[in-house]
Amino acid sequence: MTYPALSAIILTPLVILGLATVLTWVERRLLGVWQDRYGPNRVGPGGMFQAVADGTKILFKQDWIPPFADRGIFVAAPAIGMMTVLLAFAAIPLTMGTGIAGDMNVGLLFILGMMGLGVYAVVLAGWSSNSKYALLGGMRAAAQMISYEVFMGLSVLGVVMMAGSFNLRAIVAAQAGVWFIIPQCLGFGVFMLAGIAQTHRLPFDLPEGENELGAGFHTEYSGMKFGMFFIAEYAGIILVSSLVTTLYLGGWRGPFLPPAVWSALKTGGVVVFFILLRAGLPRPRYDQLMALGWKILLPLSLFNVMATGTILMLRAS
């Protein structure tokens, strides 16, 4: 193993964790802007050190495990969530040359697989807490995330067909002319919705809907174990955003600026859009969420696969 590869493996999780921590502050500030209030602005310049203060506080909190919980799984659940998100980043190429395993020939499938395993964190947290609200949250999460995984996989198929590869670098390379967001606008829409549901973010955060379930699957969690769920959620937002950038927005392509800057800019833009959705949209009911998935998104993504295939076949012949 070469020195740059090793340093990339060590640096990537640290950078992602740092970014996810900063993102908690960015989100609260942006929500403040959109909802016409201040948000955290006292600690450090512009409230910048709020994330540090929160982190320090959460580290020193009592790390309590309920006596009625299944101890082993209760402790393992947040770790699973964190691990799967961080592992998925391995396959994301920042630029042509950088990234840990950006050239993996099944890179996209690897990321989908890791996102699929991420369901366990939420489901097991709900089960092992051994309490009603957590269990309900966990069951909602299982149904929601498995359903939306299907649409996510199907919507990505259009991109894979056009690029002719699961390799994420090849997919970016195939967007030399036009970004896939234009020919694949349908797939893009489905992918965005599935991405929100997959990271269980507002407006699709029914697994932790606090108006009915307390805090859902992490009701019994406290201290840094709760913090890990929290940070993993923000890392998940960054993951989906960078995936959207790679698949639909041309990855590192763009004029004048260096490729890495373009990657970061586009990913940041999508992250801000995620936060805007949270600020702007109300939460649907759970059955509405599932109906939207199976009755609208599934036919749409199947149609997208069919149309893309037909057009590609016609163009080839």
């Binding site: 499938l109 690897f110 699929g116 369901v119 489901v123 097991l124 269990l135 299982a142 699961f166």
Partner: protein, 166 residues
Amino acid sequence: MHALALLAACVTVVGAIMVITRRVAVHAVLYLVVTLLALATVLVMLGASFAAMLEIIIYAGAIMVLFVFVIMMLNLGQPDSAREKEWLRPRAWLGPGVLATIVCAELLYCTSPLSGAAPVPAAITVHDVGADLFGRYVLVVELVSYLLLAGLVSAFYIGRNRAGGR
């Protein structure tokens, strides 16, 4: 590479044993997930990375989650663990033990001549899999799709709302 493959294989076997001997159903399912992941690692080392990823996505990421989902709905408790313990008496091990020994012996017999020089496996790409599925095995694929369609229709029949009268 060889040591890594051996390690993954060991994890697979130990995980599989733990699946059988766990008394809490969720623990058994989790060990099954570990087994499947280790199996995926072995597949990657054999060059079949596409099959490995499908195993992670479909088996570990979807089917096993459904298992956990069902177990959560059943709300198993202490009596179930006790019953499970009852089922795992030494006598119950006899039959499966004999069968497993036979299979192990066969495996050892088959692999022993190959132990000299292990062949380096060629990587199987997604293109190869796709071409095979829709070329050589197209009939099987169509038959399986019929089976899935039948399953879908029967699931719809069982799950439809009968409040409005049949």
